[in-house]
Symmetry: C2
Subunit: 513 residues, 2 copies
Amino acid sequence: MKELRVDEALLASIKGYENRNAYVSPFAFQPEGTMQEAADLKGQVRRTKVVASLEEAIKKSGLKDGMTISFHHHFRDGDKVLPMVMEIIANMGFKDLRVAASSFTGAHECMVEYIEKGVVNRIESSGLRGKLAQAVSNGVLASPAVIRSHGGRARAIVEGDLKIDVAFLGVPSSDCMGNANGVIGKSVCGSLGYAMVDAQYAKKVVLITDTLVAYPNHPISIPQTQVDFVVEVEEIGDPNGIMSGATRFTKNPKELLIAKNVVKAMIASGYFVDGFSMQTGSGGAALAVTRFMKEEMLKRDIKCSYALGGITAAFASLLEEGLVKEIFDVQDFDLGGVASITKNALHQEISADFYASPFNKSAAVNKLDFVVLSALEIDRDFNVNVISGSNGVIRAASGGHSDAAACAKMSIIVAPLLRGRLPIVIDRVTTVVTPGETVDVLVTELGITVNPLRQDLKANFEKAGIELIEMDTLIERAKFLAGEPKKAEFSDEVVAVVEYRDGSIIDVIKKVK
Amino acid sequence: MKELRVDEALLASIKGYENRNAYVSPFAFQPEGTMQEAADLKGQVRRTKVVASLEEAIKKSGLKDGMTISFHHHFRDGDKVLPMVMEIIANMGFKDLRVAASSFTGAHECMVEYIEKGVVNRIESSGLRGKLAQAVSNGVLASPAVIRSHGGRARAIVEGDLKIDVAFLGVPSSDCMGNANGVIGKSVCGSLGYAMVDAQYAKKVVLITDTLVAYPNHPISIPQTQVDFVVEVEEIGDPNGIMSGATRFTKNPKELLIAKNVVKAMIASGYFVDGFSMQTGSGGAALAVTRFMKEEMLKRDIKCSYALGGITAAFASLLEEGLVKEIFDVQDFDLGGVASITKNALHQEISADFYASPFNKSAAVNKLDFVVLSALEIDRDFNVNVISGSNGVIRAASGGHSDAAACAKMSIIVAPLLRGRLPIVIDRVTTVVTPGETVDVLVTELGITVNPLRQDLKANFEKAGIELIEMDTLIERAKFLAGEPKKAEFSDEVVAVVEYRDGSIIDVIKKVK
């Protein structure tokens, strides 16, 4: 095209086009970073995003002091990406970074050192564990840590509350353009649900993989349209680390009793009908629920329309057997879950946004009938703490707890009355993560307790002949067995803020004395 | 949660939290339209988006005079959604709407009436056909129509150049929450690639389906997270309309000759090696290329890494036979394509953004080796017209033509020297859609012509012993056969602007005299 057909004069003569660009050449108006240098026109089209090293990717990403970087935790305790990237970032001399991870796990204790050295000065996450959690509770950070639910984090990213400058995303496989998934490769993790949101919204996206495959990769969890750089490394994670703290079938009689009571409550609720939907966690009682529930489904010849959440082999089996029609999977809790999402198309990978964001046009949690959730503490008003210990020290994660509780028709907390000598059902939880008005039922080894807000459920349970136990009775019983619990002592300094899923602040965590 | 843990005073004491909200109740800060009225908390969670009628959906969408609505054209000549929605909108008395369709087809002639009545005053589209195209060329619109490529439309939507207030998207199946696909239902269309972009970015999204399925629908092309309302109607389209003007194997000796020359050029280019990639259109010559190419692939024992574009049964067969590793499908051109995307996981649905947007971090066109494209006219500088006839009247569509041409290592235009008595290879095209510097090779029944910008290709062709024919010779030959073409006559009024994929204006179309 030697002759240009359109010029400023012509555009000026067309109403509304006065300030528009006339065509100049095919790549004249490309956004920065989407093309490459080349003498010939077609050579300017980037045909690979693979760079030689993490250092090079970091340099090219434009990372600067004070920026926000992100990671996902799909490898859980087996993650090798965050430590690898942070070591290089520290060596490159960056300071004052905000690190926004979907969660920090036991694999991320190195963060303490980077905070102490000033490489990192802010952290945002679903959870904090081990030495990092202890250090934050001791006041290592100048600004409070931000704790968000999985749905709340997706919302914050989409709404721009959490702006990510560079996302460093470990992916089990990628092609040279950045089409990536979690089901092929040396170190599979299954769903990449949390990472999908970072990839979509981060300004720059660096994929880190130990399995670079021929173009095009399939399936595509993270698409090339969102990826800036791809780096091949030796090893991104240890798939056995995914298993950590997860899924075994319990033989603990207390947990089995709780599980039986949960299923009893589900049946009596009126919601246990063909097409019901379900989320459970990965604890012993939750898995036992799945087993007992299966027996009741077979007895009644009903099926589950979808199972949601962090997925275990237990739900994967129900899918295989046709008892669950579809699985929505934001994260895999065990290798059985990973194997299932790899082979079964009805085991559907979903993003954290699809899973639980309160601000999109409806998340998967919005259609939940039942969710079975655990608790570190639950109080008289049914408020649940899943983030801090009774000693006030941060130790766990918000996860999807408040997201699922808010939307499920019947949210069920499973908890023992005591753990060791610690009372779990108490007057006032140390930290509120999930507000009591969203918690419908508590099941302990002593039986079923209904939130007074749910008189409808109470009536159904009573109609079914279930003897309910009052919250007051539980708390008295716990006190009788364990004595009045010792209050954690705090200083005035806020070390973490707990965001509710909608971005409002539901509680703060203070420095332990 | 009766006791609120956080108040303004506490937030004011935390640096950076002075203006944040304290938690109030679970749904206190929800965006408008995401919940429903109910006395009980959990009843506020919307569990269906099905509304009784299109009227109700339109009312609830908040549509107002002067707003922008959108449609897709996956049903091509079989579309019943646009006429159905526009009739109701007209009856409801709306005025001055902008209608942004991915394309207008022969099923959309009703638009002329709505423009004349003032219901619609602006249109934006990839193409215009039939009576609507003629009316626009005659100046029926007060503001010029906007013509965009498929990649350019995705870019415009993502960048906010084209802000859609309400998208009305026909979907072959949906569940009550808006999980939708094009492969299940009474009226399947296969890929929903164009609609995916509208669903993601429109303020309000109304799905229109004739097949409402149990929750959750599978697969998910449009997710519930993007959908506001679902309306069930009698019939959304006629799948046989998808076939219109498409795909038969040609017996035309001129087309067969052109196809053979195309394959000869591909082989000689140096790009026809294992792992090459490919896009073709749906014309007779393009389909013949696929057949001849297959023979050469078998002979050389090489495979195609991915086939791209509007997809026909021809590429679906190559996928089945393992000769193509993956198909990226933004639109199905025939029912064979639809059948393939329904059953074969390696037949991957992609959005128009993934297909061809120039402003994301790389589209599928960016890895193309070959694209075979047709032309209404091509000129001395290799500029291509695919939008207007030689008489100056709009008659066709921009499509993905300029997107694929810009990025493919070798873009090949196939065209006869003449169509009837009309010369196709001419001095100066009536309208430029695809700029000549992105067009590498022209193949006519007279042989292969190389763009002088591509001396590298010219050298490869000559090394392969191909006798090339110069552009000047083609034009002279066309003139000799058909005489000097009669120039179309235009008035000064601009009736349409042609945007290049990056949003710059590459040409305008004027009112015909």
